[in-house]
C-alpha cells in the first residue's frame, strides 16, 4: 500500500524525523481552521498518489492566510491528471497545509527493498527535488547506493558514509545520523518496501527537514499492522478490486480491454493476457482464481466479470492439476448456475482428465465454446468479442 504524504509524515514524526508543521484538511472549513492555527507563508499540497503534483497545480505556495484558503479551495475537489494517474485522473479529497520553510539546499534519501541483494538498499543523492532516475543518468557521481544488512541494522559508520558524501559542512553528523536512523526505523517498523524523502532540505538554520514523504508498505505484513485498515480508507480503489480481494481473488481491472479473463495461477493469467494481445485484442482484466480454482472462487470471479460492462467475451483458462479437469468443469457449471452471463464464453481446459472435463462441458448444453489450446482459445474469444 502506498501511503499518503500526511500518513507517511505521521510515521516520520514518531521516528523523530523533522517535518514541517502542518495540518490535514478535507473541506474548505477544515482548511480555514487549519490555516488559523498555522503561521504563513504556507504551502497547500494535494494528498493524492501521483508524482508531478507541483506541475499539475496541486501544490500551491501561499504568502498569506487568505491566499492559502483560496489555494485549498482550488485544490480540494480538483481532478488531477498526470502521467501516473492516467486519463481518468484522481479527484483530490484532502490537502496537507504546512508552514513553508526557507531552503538552503536540497538532498535526496531513500531506503528501498532491493530484490537483487535481497535486503534494504540505501540511496542518497546530493541532488534533491529531482527524479532519482534522472539524476542517475545525468550525474551518477551525485548518487551513493549501498546495501544495509537487515540483521545487523543501520550502523554508525554507514551513517557517516552518507554524511560525508552529503555534507557541505553546514549540518552535523548527528543530524544526518538521526535522519537516517529515523528513516530506517520507519522502514523496518512499518514493514515498508520503500521510504523516500525527496527532497530532504537543509534550512538556513542547518536543520535537515523532510519536505516530502513517500512510504510504500508490504501488503503481506498486514496481519501485524491493524492500523493499515483505517489508512487504506483514504485511498481510491477500484470497487471490483476491493470485492475480488474479499473473495481471496487476485483481480486487476485493465483499461481499454474487452476480453474478461479467468485463469488459475498468476503466471498463467499473465500469459493468457499476453496471448490475447498477440491476437489483436486487449484483456479487460488480470484475474487469478488460485491454483485450486474451486467453486466459490470461480463463482465470485464470474460475478465480477459479468458486472464489467467493458467485457465483451470471457476467456476461462484453467490448468487442472491437483484439482482435476472434470472437477473444474463441474465447478464452472455450478458457478454458472448462479451467475447469468450475457457475453460469449470460451473455455480452455488442460491437464489431468482433460477429456472428461471437455466432455462434461460439451454435454451440459452450456452456451460456450471449448478450445484445444490457449492460442485457439484467444482466437475464439477475440472473434466472439467482435474486436
Amino acid at each position: 500500500m502506498q501511503l499518503h504524504e500526511y500518513q507517511a509524515k505521521r510515521l516520520f514524526d514518531v521516528a523523530g524525523i523533522k517535518v514541517q508543521t502542518g495540518l490535514l484538511a478535507r473541506t474548505a472549513k477544515e482548511a480555514a481552521r487549519a490555516i488559523a492555527k498555522l503561521t504563513p507563508p504556507l504551502v497547500v499540497k494535494a494528498q493524492v498518489h501521483a508524482g508531478g503534483r507541483g506541475k499539475a497545480g496541486a501544490i500551491k505556495f501561499a504568502q498569506t492566510a487568505e491566499e492559502a484558503q483560496r489555494a485549498a479551495e482550488d485544490i480540494l475537489g480538483m481532478t488531477l491528471r498526470t502521467k501516473q494517474t492516467g486519463q481518468a485522473g484522481l479527484v483530490v479529497k484532502s490537502v496537507l497545509i504546512v508552514e513553508a520553510s526557507d531552503i538552503d539546499s536540497e538532498l535526496y534519501l531513500s531506503i528501498v527493498t532491493d530484490r537483487a541483494s535481497r535486503g534494504p538498499m540505501l540511496i542518497a543523492s546530493r541532488a534533491g527535488g529531482v527524479d532519482i532516475e534522472e539524476t542517475a543518468e545525468r550525474d551518477p557521481d551525485a548518487i551513493l547506493k549501498f546495501e544495509i544488512d537487515p540483521v545487523r541494522g543501520l550502523t554508525d559508520h554507514a551513517c557517516r558514509r552518507v554524511h560525508f558524501f552529503w555534507s557541505n559542512g553546514t549540518f552535523g553528523m548527528k543530524d544526518t545520523a538521526a535522519l537516517l536512523k529515523g528513516v530506517y526505523d520507519v522502514y523496518m517498523r512499518s514493514d515498508a518496501t520503500m521510504v523516500e524523502i525527496n527532497p530532504v532540505v537543509v534550512t538556513p538554520e542547518h536543520e535537515l527537514l523532510a519536505l516530502d514523504a513517500k512510504v510504500a508498505t508490504d501488503d503481506n505484513a498486514r496481519f501485524r499492522h491493524p492500523e493499515w485498515e483505517a489508512w487504506a480508507k483514504g485511498h481510491d480503489r477500484d470497487a471490483r478490486e476491493v470485492e475480488a480481494e474479499q473473495h481471496g481473488l487476485n483481480y486487476i481491472k485493465l483499461p481499454d480491454g474487452t476480453i474478461g479473463c479467468m485463469v488459475n495461477g498468476a503466471g498463467l493469467a499473465m500469459a493468457t493476457m499476453d496471448v490475447i494481445k498477440n491476437h489483436g485484442a486487449a484483456p479487460a482484466n488480470f484475474l487469478d482464481v488460485g491454483g485450486g480454482a474451486d467453486v466459490e472462487a470461480v463463482t465470485a470471479a464470474f460475478r465480477i466479470l459479468a458486472a464489467d460492462s467493458d467485457v465483451k467475451a470471457i476467456l476461462v483458462n484453467i490448468f487442472g492439476g491437483i484439482m482435476k479437469c472434470d472437477i473444474i468443469a463441474e465447478g464452472i457449471l455450478a458457478a454458472l448456475g448462479s451467475v447469468k452471463l450475457t457475453v460469449p464464453l470460451v473455455v480452455r481446459l488442460e491437464g489431468t482428465n482433460v477429456e472428461q472435463g471437455r466432455r462434461i462441458i460439451a454435454e451440459s448444453g452450456l452456451d460456450c465454446e471449448t478450445a484445444v489450446d490457449l492460442s485457439d482459445a484467444a482466437e475464439k474469444a477475440v472473434a466472439a468479442a467482435g474486436a
Binding site: D218, N220, I252, G265, G267, A271, G291, T352
Partner: protein, 289 residues
C-alpha cells in the same frame, strides 16, 4: 541423476497438522517421497497419515535424519520456521507458504545463507524429481521421468510445461518452482548451474515473468556458461506498470522489470523464447532434435 532431490531424500513437513500441510504431506508420501516426519510445535506425539509429528525440527531430525523440509507454516510464523530448519541443519528447504512479509524473508535469508542451506521459495509449488521425490503441491501424476529440467517463477505455468513435455515423451529430470516472491531462495542461475552439470538433463525450460532482473542475469549466465538448449517464456508482456500481478514479485517498477528487456536479453543469449505457454514443449523438442 536429476538435481536437488531423489528417491533417497528424507523429507519432513513443517506445519503438517494444518489443512494444506496434512493434505500435501500425504500426497507426497503417496507419490513415493520418503516423508519421514512432521513438525508442529505443541503437537509432538501426534501422527498424521502414518507420519510421526514432533515439536521441533531438531527433534524430528535427531530421530529421522531428514535432508529436506517442506514448509506449510502460516505467513506470520513461516520466516521463523525457515530459520528453525536452517539452524537445525536441514540441507534443503522448500517453503510453499504464500504471503510471508518481506522483512521476515530478508532476515531468514541471512540465516539461510550463513548456514549454507539451499532454499526454494517461498510462494512456490516446490521441487519434484519425476517418479522419485515430490516435495510440494504440484500434481504428481503429470510428471514423467525424462530429460527436461524446468525452472519457473510460476506454478501453473510450470505444470503446463510439465504436461507438454510429458505428452511429447520428453519427460522431466527435475522441476523447480523458485517462487513468485521478490525475496526468495535459489534463483534461476543456481538452478541452471545444477541442470548444466546434471547428466540426466538434456534441455532446460525457463519460465520467467515481469519484475526484478533475474531473467536478465540468467541470460548473461546462459550466454557464457550454458551448453544445453534453453527454451523460455516470459509472462506479463501486457501487464501495466506499478501493479502487482498476483505474485508479490511480479511488478514493473519505474523503468525496470518489464518483459521486453527480459525477452531481448534471453534471445540475445540464444534462448528460444516462446510467445505462448502452449509452445513450450514443442519448442523444446525442436531444439533437442
Amino acid at each position: 541423476m536429476a538435481i536437488l532431490v531423489n528417491q533417497s531424500t528424507r523429507v519432513i513437513c513443517q506445519g503438517i497438522t494444518g489443512k494444506a500441510g496434512s493434505f500435501h504431506a500425504a500426497q507426497c508420501k503417496a507419490y513415493g517421497t520418503q516423508m519421514v516426519a512432521g513438525v508442529t510445535p505443541g503437537k509432538g506425539g501426534e501422527v498424521v497419515d502414518g507420519i510421526p509429528v514432533y515439536d521441533t525440527v531438531r527433534e524430528a531430525r535427531r530421530r529421522h535424519g531428514a535432508d529436506a523440509t517442506m514448509i506449510f507454516v502460516p505467513p506470520f510464523a513461516a520466516g521463523d520456521a525457515i530459520e528453525e530448519a536452517a539452524t537445525a541443519g536441514v540441507g534443503l528447504i522448500a517453503c510453499i507458504t504464500e504471503g510471508i512479509p518481506q522483512k521476515d524473508m530478508m532476515l531468514a535469508r541471512r540465516v539461510v545463507d550463513d548456514q549454507g542451506v539451499r532454499m526454494i521459495g517461498p510462494n512456490c509449488p516446490g521441487v519434484i524429481t519425476s517418479e522419485e521425490c515430490k516435495i510440494g503441491i504440484m500434481p504428481g501424476y503429470i510428471h514423467k521421468k525424462g530429460c527436461i529440467g524446468i525452472v519457473s517463477r510460476s506454478g501453473t505455468l510450470t505444470y503446463e510445461a510439465v504436461w507438454q513435455t510429458t505428452q511429447l515423451g520428453l519427460g522431466q529430470s527435475t522441476s523447480v518452482g523458485i517462487g513468485g516472491d521478490p525475496i526468495h531462495g535459489m534463483g534461476f542461475i543456481d538452478i541452471l548451474e545444477q541442470f548444466e552439470h546434471d547428466e540426466q538433463t538434456r534441455g532446460i525450460i525457463l519460465i520467467g515473468e515481469i519484475g526484478g532482473d533475474e531473467e536478465e542475469r540468467a541470460a548473461d549466465w546462459i550466454a557464457s556458461h550454458a551448453r544445453k538448449p534453453v527454451t523460455a517464456l516470459i509472462a506479463g508482456r501486457t501487464a501495466p506498470p506499478g501493479r502487482r500481478m498476483g505474485h508479490a514479485g511480479a511488478i514493473i517498477s519505474g523503468s525496470s522489470g518489464g518483459a521486453e528487456d527480459k525477452v531481448a536479453a534471453l534471445k540475445e543469449a540464444g534462448v528460444a523464447v516462446c510467445e505462448s505457454p502452449t509452445d513450450l514443449g514443442r519448442t523444446m523438442k525442436e531444439q533437442l532434435s
